[in-house]
C-alpha cells in the first residue's frame, strides 16, 4: 500500500536552504536568521543533494536556493547553480539583495550568478527587510540581474499603514523601465507575524486562497542547513516537527520523501489545506481559532500545535480517508494528462 501511494507523489522542485545565517536580522523572520545564527550546508553536500534528487525524482524541474541569505555561500553557491544547470534543471535564488549596496557590487554578484547559469532571481524586501537592506540595494541588484538576462521577481511584504516600501520601489524610474520590458515582475506578498509584538499590516484576508490545498506538500522537497529533509518550504516549516522527514545521509532522499505517503495528514493538507481542515474538524469554534490568521502556513502551525485540533483530527480522520484519497488521485490523474 505504501508503495502504491509513494508512486503517486513526485516533487517538481528541490529547495536548498543553504544557510540560516543572514546579512539581515528581521524582527519577524521565520527562522530568526541573523549574522550571528550558524548552521549551513557545505558546498559538497549541496552538490551531492542535487545529484541525488536528480536521480531519485525524474519529475524534478527546478532547484531553488534560499536561506538565510544564500549568497553568503559565494563560490559554493555559484558551483551549485552551475551543477544544477548542467543537469538540465532550472535554478532560482531567493535573496535579500544586500549584495546590491553599490552598482559595482551588484554587477559583480550578478556576473557570477549569470556565469553559473542562474535562471531566476527572487528578491525579498519590505518594511522589516529595509531596516537592513535599503530599496536602493534591491533596485541595484534587480537591474544588474536583468541586465544579464536573468528574470527577476521582487516580492514586497505587505506594508503597514505608514510604510511606503512598495510604492518607493514601484515608482522608481529604473523599476518602471524593467517592468515594461517584462524582465522584472513586482508583487506584494502576504505577511505573517511570528512574535506577539508584531504590528498590524495592511492586508485583506484572502479566504479563498487560504482555503486552498497546499501545493508545497509533495510538490517541493527541501534540504535544510542542518541537512534535514523537509516536506515543505513554508514559513513555519521549522516550527512544525512533522514537516521534518529525517536526516539526509547521501542515499536516503527518495525513501525519506516517499515516507510521507503513509501519512494521511500530508494528503489532507495537500487536498484541502490546513485552514479548511481546521474549519472542518472544529466547526463553529474555528472562527475564534482562525481569527487574525492571514497565511496558510500560519494555519498549518496552529493545526499541528493546538491539542484540541489534533484531538478532533484524530477523532474524525478515518471517516475522511476515502474522500480525500479519491480527490487526491483524481486531481493527480488529471494533472498528469
Amino acid at each position: 500500500m505504501d508503495d502504491m501511494q509513494g508512486a503517486a507523489i513526485a516533487p517538481h522542485s528541490l529547495t536548498i536552504l543553504c544557510t540560516y545565517q543572514c546579512t539581515a536580522a528581521c524582527k519577524q523572520c521565520c527562522f530568526e536568521s541573523s549574522p550571528e545564527v550558524r548552521g549551513r550546508l557545505s558546498g559538497e553536500d549541496i552538490i551531492a543533494r542535487i545529484t541525488e534528487a536528480r536521480c531519485e525524482f525524474p519529475s524534478l524541474k527546478l532547484v531553488a536556493f534560499s536561506g538565510g541569505e544564500a549568497t553568503l555561500l559565494k563560490q559554493a553557491l555559484f558551483d551549485a547553480i552551475a551543477h544544477a544547470t548542467s543537469l538540465g534543471l532550472l535554478t532560482r535564488i531567493v535573496s535579500n539583495a544586500s549584495w546590491g549596496k553599490t552598482v559595482n557590487s551588484a554587477n559583480r554578484m550578478a556576473d557570477s550568478l549569470s556565469r553559473s547559469g542562474l535562471s531566476e532571481l527572487n528578491i525579498s524586501t519590505g518594511k522589516d527587510h529595509q531596516e537592513w537592506v535599503p530599496s536602493e540595494s534591491v533596485i541595484n541588484a534587480a537591474q544588474a540581474a536583468v541586465d544579464r538576462g536573468i528574470f527577476t521577481l521582487i516580492t514586497v511584504e505587505a506594508d503597514d499603514q505608514e510604510s511606503t516600501c512598495l510604492s518607493s520601489i514601484a515608482y522608481d524610474e529604473r523599476v518602471r523601465r524593467m517592468l515594461k520590458t517584462k524582465s522584472l515582475a513586482l508583487q506584494s506578498n502576504s505577511w505573517m507575524p511570528f512574535r506577539r509584538d508584531a504590528e498590524k499590516r495592511v492586508q485583506e484576508r484572502n479566504f479563498a486562497e487560504m482555503r486552498k490545498g497546499c501545493e508545497q506538500i509533495f510538490g517541493n522537497v527541501v534540504v535544510t542547513p542542518h541537512d534535514n529533509l523537509s516536506a515543505c518550504c513554508g514559513l513555519t516549516l521549522e516550527h512544525i516537527p512533522e514537516m521534518r522527514l529525517g536526516h539526509c545521509d547521501g542515499t536516503n532522499m527518495g525513501s525519506l520523501y516517499r515516507s510521507q505517503a503513509d501519512d494521511f495528514l500530508k494528503f489532507w493538507i495537500h487536498v484541502e489545506g490546513p485552514y479548511a481542515i481546521i474549519e472542518r474538524v472544529m466547526g463553529k469554534e474555528s472562527a475564534d481559532i482562525l481569527e487574525d490568521v492571514v497565511h496558510i502556513c500560519q494555519a498549518c502551525a496552529i493545526m499541528h500545535k493546538n491539542p484540541q485540533i489534533r484531538e478532533a483530527i484524530e477523532r474524525e480522520y478515518l471517516s475522511i480517508v476515502p474522500e480525500v484519497m479519491t480527490r487526491f488521485h483524481i486531481k493527480r490523474a488529471l494533472e498528469s494528462r
Binding site: 517538481h12 540560516y20 527562522f31 510604492s167 514601484a170 517592468l179 542542518h226 516537527p241 494528503f267 475564534d288
Partner: protein
C-alpha cells in the same frame, strides 16, 4: 475557544516563550537548535493503520486508468456523465458530496457533458464557458469588485499616474502609430484630415494633449483623437495587460501566490496583472485554460485570454475615466477599449 485561551493552549503544546513582549507565537524554530534538535512524537496519521481494505488501495492505484477511460472512450464518458456518483462507486471510489463538488470531478463532468462537447465542436466558446459556470466549475463573481479595487488603486495614485503620463509625453512608437491608424480605419471611423492632423500633432509634438489640461483630456475632440490618446496612454504605461504590470504595483492589497516564489509549476498559466486583484477571476481563468488543454481546444484558451485582456483594459480605462485622468463619452470609451484590447491581443500574438 477564545483567542487568548487558544494561544495559551498552543504555547503549552510546545512553544517556548521568549522575552516578554517579543513572545514567540509558534515556539522556537528548529533553526536555532544545533542539528535541528531531536523530534519527539510526531503528529502523524498512518494510512497503514486506516483499516481500509487492500481492494480500496488497488482502486486508488487504478484511478489514472479510470480517468483515461472516461476521457478516451465515448461509452465510458457517457456512463460517467449519466451519473458520476454511480460511476465512482462502481469503481470503488468515494462518491460523497464533497468529492462530487471537488473541482477535479467537476472538470471531468464538464469534459463528458455532450452539450459541452457539441459547443466545443462548434467553437462556441461563450456557450462552453456558460456551461462551465452552470456546472459550478467556474465560480460566480461580481465584476464590479475588480472595478472598485482598480479604481481605488488609480485614485490613490492619480497624481503619480498623471506625472507618468506627462513624462511619457504621449510619444507613440512607430508600430503603435501604424496600428492605431489601421485600427481606426477598420473601426469604420474613417479619420478625417483634421483627425489625422491632430493625431500627428500629438505624436510629433510630444504634447500630452491639444488642450491645456495637465493630464489627458479630450473634451470635444473627435473620437479618433480620443482613441489615439487612450491608446497612447495605455500602451505606453500598460504596454500589454498580460505582461508588464503597472496598475498592480500601485495596489496595496495585492493578492499573490502564497507559495512564495514557486513560479514555474504552481502559478497560473497567465500573468494578468490587474486580474490578480480578483482571485475568483484568476481561478476561473486558470480552470478554463486548463479545460482548453484537456480538450485540446486552443481556441477556448485564446478566447479566455482575450476575455481577460478585455476585462483588464475595461476596468483600467474606466478607472482612468472615473479618476478624471481621461475624459471621454461612453461611445469614445467603448471604442478606445476595443482599440487597446486589439493592440494587446496583437502584442501577444493572439
Amino acid at each position: 475557544m477564545k483567542r487568548r485561551k487558544f494561544i495559551q493552549a498552543s504555547l503549552l503544546a510546545g512553544a517556548l516563550p521568549a522575552t516578554a513582549g517579543t513572545e514567540r507565537l509558534y515556539g522556537t524554530p528548529a533553526s536555532l537548535t544545533p542539528g535541528g534538535g531531536k523530534v519527539g512524537d510526531k503528529f502523524l496519521l498512518p494510512l497503514s493503520r486506516s483499516g481500509l481494505p487492500t481492494s480500496t488501495w488497488n482502486e486508488f492505484a487504478a484511478v489514472s486508468q479510470i480517468i483515461d477511460n472516461v476521457v478516451g472512450s465515448k461509452t465510458e464518458s457517457d456512463i460517467f456523465f449519466k451519473s458520476p456518483k454511480n460511476y465512482l462507486r462502481t469503481h470503488g471510489l468515494d462518491a460523497s458530496d464533497k468529492t462530487l463538488v471537488d473541482k477535479s470531478v467537476l472538470m471531468l463532468t464538464c469534459l463528458t457533458d455532450p452539450v459541452v462537447q457539441e459547443s466545443v465542436a462548434k467553437s462556441d466558446w461563450d456557450a462552453v464557458l456558460e456551461h462551465y459556470r452552470a456546472a459550478g466549475l467556474l465560480e460566480n463573481r461580481d465584476p464590479a469588485l475588480l472595478q472598485k479595487q482598480v479604481l481605488a488603486a488609480v485614485e490613490e495614485s492619480s497624481a503619480e499616474i498623471a506625472e507618468i503620463m506627462k513624462s511619457q509625453k504621449m510619444v507613440l512608437r512607430e508600430e503603435q502609430e501604424q496600428f492605431l491608424l489601421e485600427f481606426l480605419e477598420q473601426s469604420g471611423h474613417v479619420p478625417t484630415e483634421d483627425d489625422l492632423a491632430t493625431v500627428a500633432q500629438i505624436v510629433s509634438s510630444g504634447m500630452a494633449s491639444p488642450t491645456a489640461c495637465s493630464v489627458v483630456t479630450v473634451c470635444g475632440a473627435a473620437v479618433t483623437v480620443a482613441v489615439a490618446v487612450v491608446v497612447a496612454v495605455v500602451t505606453l504605461t500598460l504596454v500589454s495587460t498580460t505582461a508588464a504590470s503597472y496598475v498592480d504595483v500601485y495596489a496595496s492589497e495585492l493578492v499573490s501566490n502564497p507559495s512564495y516564489g514557486m513560479s514555474t509549476e504552481d502559478e497560473t498559466p497567465f500573468t494578468g496583472s490587474i486580474a490578480k486583484l480578483d482571485p475568483v477571476l484568476v481561478r476561473n481563468t486558470t480552470r478554463a485554460i486548463r479545460m482548453g488543454a484537456l480538450l485540446g481546444a486552443p481556441g477556448l484558451q485564446a478566447h479566455v485570454v482575450k476575455s481577460l485582456i478585455n476585462e483588464e483594459v475595461r476596468v483600467f480605462m474606466t478607472a482612468l475615466q472615473k479618476a478624471n485622468l481621461f475624459t471621454a463619452n461612453d461611445e469614445q470609451l467603448e471604442l478606445a477599449i476595443r482599440a487597446v484590447s486589439a493592440y494587446s491581443y496583437r502584442s501577444i500574438d493572439l
